[in-house]
Amino acid sequence: MTLFLQELVNGITTGAIYALIALGYTMVYGIIELLNFAHGDIFMIGTFVCVSIFAAFGITLSSSPPTGLALVGVLLVTLLGSMAVCAVLGVVIERFAYRPLRNAPRLAPLISAIGVSLILEDVAKLWKGINFITVPQIFPQIFYHIGPITISSINILVIVVAVVLMIALQWLVTRTRTGRAMRAVAQDREAAALMGVNVNRIIAITFFIGAGLAGAAGLIWDLQYGTTIFYLGFTLGLFAFTAAVLGGIGNIVGAMLGGVLIGVIEALATLIPDSNNGGIGLPHGGAPWHEAIIFIVLILILVFRPSGLLGQRTPEKV
């Protein structure tokens, strides 16, 4: 039971990160019906940017981490820096790799997205090499014990950052003019254009925000897991996409919910016993199968409930 609850905590933490990334997927898919394969790699670039910003502050593996106000300052700057770089990257990608293909048959932007993903991964390879990169741990790790489970301060930070950003996004989408315009374009691009909405700008803004959130996810990933590598984005991106679909593509709250659920499923998967030891379970236990398990979840959703848990977009006109 303890193990279960502990994994639950871990799962929620990871899930928060997935949720942030999933938001980018769901927003972009909602607005131009494109699966942005490169989105996960934008997140990965975010993790890299954070490491570089840390280095710029003189924070390395061997140096002692900053404290107090300096720490807050560093975190803030890194957060904003990572978000900014990723946001700009997202807009640039949209402008050059997706916009020319907006009227092309559906295969074309998808393939272009795959191309962009490949480019980003190799750029990352060139930037920081092919090996795992260890991130300096700058946030003080304090363990709180609540009953049988342990929560670390980093877990709390991750969840707090994620929640704050998600609330901000929800506010943006529901309470501002831009948010209204985004929802309008998502529902009916032509009608929105006729209403005077600058569709290109709104799409660019969507990418900006989505990628920015991925950048934030990059920072909290670095803080929580302390390690990154050039191919991190691809698989994690797919998990995040699964989360978006689980929650209901195009639905922001759904993406958050889906993210947490996927994180929990992934964490709980490690508890599956090893069938090689006799008894039920999976060979070598659940851990090496977690990717497969998440994909099976995705397939099951798409087969049985393609609209996801909370999914709804208003029906298109006849």
Binding site: P105, S112, I130, P306, S307
Partner: protein
């Protein structure tokens, strides 16, 4: 007709003769003297005579002899055909420039840079040439003559003229060739590089060639005549002008009313404005290409000197990429189902042979070991066996995807592409997990040494021919049309009576079938199977092959597969070796980049190059390198018209209509 009449050219024929003899003589001379035509022949002859430094077995000698005979005979006959078929409208210079760019330049590039890099450079040179030529044509306000006006009917006298032209073409070409060759050999003899005996043989050759030229030119003339329009048939009112006066059905008549049919005919018929591109000439090219491919293992040592086995092994690998690309082309190209997990079926095919064709199965079932020779013989039925197993899983994994739209389909197939290697990795009780299965048997074939690369080369060649054949049959069938209909418009397809479910599953199955073939071959050639042979990145590469080559186009994906393979495994590795050489300009380039990005190698940026290629091609030439005629029209028309999204094209998950549409 007396000999004199047939052989002495009239004034107007003289120009034609000069045009074509020079045009063809230069490339063949380059092949013979600069490359290895001469070397091949001389070595073959010397080994026949028992002297010389290259000892060839009888079988090798015979193969070389056949190749040489086919090569020169085809070229001479081609000369005859071209002289006979040419209508004379296009000028000499234009033709020579064309031959220079499309025959000579590739020849020289391949000679100096090797086959792969040479062809790759051609792929850059040719589009440039097209661009330049188009600019020139615009600047000079050049309009080519209308081909359709050329459908003349020839009377008996004109046909005789044609025939004599063919004979003259063949005869004088071979005379020119013989003379040039003799002169060259004399020079070699005087400088001491040619043994006396070969000079004697050269003289004999000089006498034989013109005679052969006469008959081969006649052959060329006959082929040209077959492609002329004959007189109207007076027998019954039904038939109209057709070849050799055969009756044609009413359907053919109706068909022949179509204008594009007329255009096809113009390319086919003689006299022809562009005989080099005519379908008659294409037969000759086909013979040359087939001879080259068939006899390649024998002539490679002469063409490219050492390293034959390595090259052949590389081509053997490229071969299974071609089969994979063709298989994926069925799913993505014909049926329009974006499959990003194709590597899964490749893995299944490989493991199928890997488990059965080794001691793995007998170990698992605790049976006594089976005679390896018996198991090896099992390879041949297992090619089909592995293919069927892969096809079964193709259908199985296709089932959940039936109602999904493009992007979702892609993701789900991607998921399968991830899951299957994991399954093979983790079920190590059956698959040996990360260590993989070793000692997989090669196929059994009497007399073939499966430790060398040559048998695998022929094996994959045969499999490729089979695959192409089946693919063409599929494409032009009722099923093929159903696939393309689904790709174009699922709802219209269903409303035309096509069962979407079964047709899609057939596409998955057929596509997976071919990956099973490739998988079995791969396991046998590698001698083992392990999960790290198959990664997600491979699926992307397979997709890139299809996309870059031309979605849905059979020649396109073949070229795409070869292009991607060579970039992937060949070009980049070569670039790295070249860059290691300080005298090469790439050395400086490499160092410059490495100073900014430590750890840079050309091999490392492979995915970068692919990624850029994919994006660029999608934006500028989405139909691929060699598009199917269809695709080109679609993708450039869609840019102009508004692509209409029908009322029934709804995202999955939008309640209301999507859930309602029952397809």
């Amino acid at each position: 007709m007396s000999i004199a009449n047939t052989l002495v050219p009239a004034r107007d024929t003289r120009a034609l003769l000069i045009k074509w003899i020079v045009g063809l003589l230069v490339p063949i001379a380059v092949f013979t003297f600069v490359w290895s035509g001469e070397a091949i022949i001389n070595n073959a002859l010397l080994s026949l005579l028992g002297t010389g430094n290259v000892a060839l077995g009888i079988s090798l000698f015979i193969q070389l002899a056949i190749f040489i005979l086919i090569l020169y005979a085809t070229v001479i006959a081609l000369a005859g055909y071209l002289v006979a078929a040419d209508s004379g409208q296009r000028g000499m210079i234009a033709l020579w420039i064309d031959i220079l760019v499309f025959v000579l330049v590739p020849l020289l590039l391949v000679i100096t840079q090797g086959l792969i890099i040479g062809l790759a450079l051609c792929a850059i040179v040719w589009p440039l040439f097209f661009l330049v030529r188009r600019r020139f044509a615009k600047a000079l306000h050049y309009t080519p003559p209308q081909p359709l006006q050329n459908l003349q009917i020839l009377d008996a006298e004109q046909r005789a003229e044609l025939m004599s032209r063919g004979i003259m073409g063949g005869f004088w070409f071979s005379v020119a060739l013989a003379v040039v060759w003799l002169v060259a050999d004399l020079i070699f003899y005087i400088t001491g590089t040619l043994p006396t005996i070969l000079l004697i043989l050269a003289v004999i050759r000089t006498l034989i060639l013109p005679v052969a030229g006469y008959f081969l030119g006649r052959l060329g003339g006959v082929i040209a005549l077959r492609r002329t329009l004959a007189q109207k048939d007076n027998g019954n009112g039904e038939s109209s002008t057709d070849r050799a006066g055969r009756r044609i059905s009413k359907r053919r008549q109706l068909q022949e009313l179509s204008t594009s049919h007329k255009r096809e005919e113009a390319r086919d018929l003689v006299p022809n404005d562009l005989p080099l591109r005519s379908t008659g000439a294409q037969r000759f090219y086909l013979i040359l290409i087939v001879a080259f491919i068939l006899f390649y293992p024998v002539i490679d040592p002469f063409l490219f000197s050492f390293g034959t086995d390595g090259r052949l092994a590389g081509y053997g690998d490229a071969g299974y990429y071609v089969i994979l690309a063709l298989g994926l082309n069925i799913v993505v190209g014909f049926a329009g189902l974006l499959d990003l997990g194709y590597v899964a079926f490749f893995a299944i095919g490989s493991y199928a042979w890997g488990i059965i064709g080794s001691t793995q199965l007998t170990n698992l079932l605790s049976l006594p070991p089976i005679n390896p020779h018996l198991l090896s013989a099992l390879f041949w039925p297992m090619i089909i066996g592995a293919a069927l197993i892969a096809a079964f899983f193709g259908v199985l994994l296709g089932l959940p995807t039936l109602r999904l739209r493009g992007d979702y389909l892609a993701i789900v197939t991607l998921g399968f592409g991830e899951i299957v290697p994991i399954v093979f990795l983790e079920l190590d009780k059956y698959t040996n997990g990360a260590n993989g299965i070793v000692g997989v048997y090669s196929p059994a074939f009497p007399g073939a040494n499966w430790l060398s690369a040559t048998p695998y080369y022929y094996l994959i060649l045969g499999l490729i021919v089979l695959t192409i054949f089946v693919n063409i049959r599929l494409r032009d069938s009722r099923l093929g049309r159903a696939w393309i209909a689904i790709r174009e418009d699922e709802i219209a397809a269903a409303s035309s009576g096509i069962n979407l479910r079964n047709t899609k599953l057939l596409a998955f199955g057929a596509g997976a079938f071919f990956s099973g073939i490739a998988g079995a071959y791969h396991a046998a050639k590698l001698g083992g199977v392990s999960p790290d042979n198959f990664s997600l990145g491979d699926s992307i590469i397979f997709l890139a092959m299809v996309v870059i080559g031309g979605i849905g186009s059979i020649p396109g994906v073949i070229v795409g597969a070869l292009a991607v393979y060579s970039i992937n495994l060949f070009l980049l590795a070569q670039l790295d070796t070249l860059a290691a050489d300080p005298s090469n300009p790439l050395f400086a380039v490499h160092n410059a980049i490495a100073s900014v990005f430590p750890g840079f190698t050309f091999g490392n940026i492979r995915n970068l190059i692919f990624g850029v290629l994919l994006v660029v091609i999608m934006i500028f030439r989405p139909e691929g390198l060699i598009p199917s005629a269809r695709r080109r029209r679609e993708l450039h028309a869609a840019a102009d018209e508004q692509v209409e999204v029908g009322a029934l094209d709804v995202v999955p998950g939008a309640p209301g209509f999507e859930d309602e549409v029952r397809i």
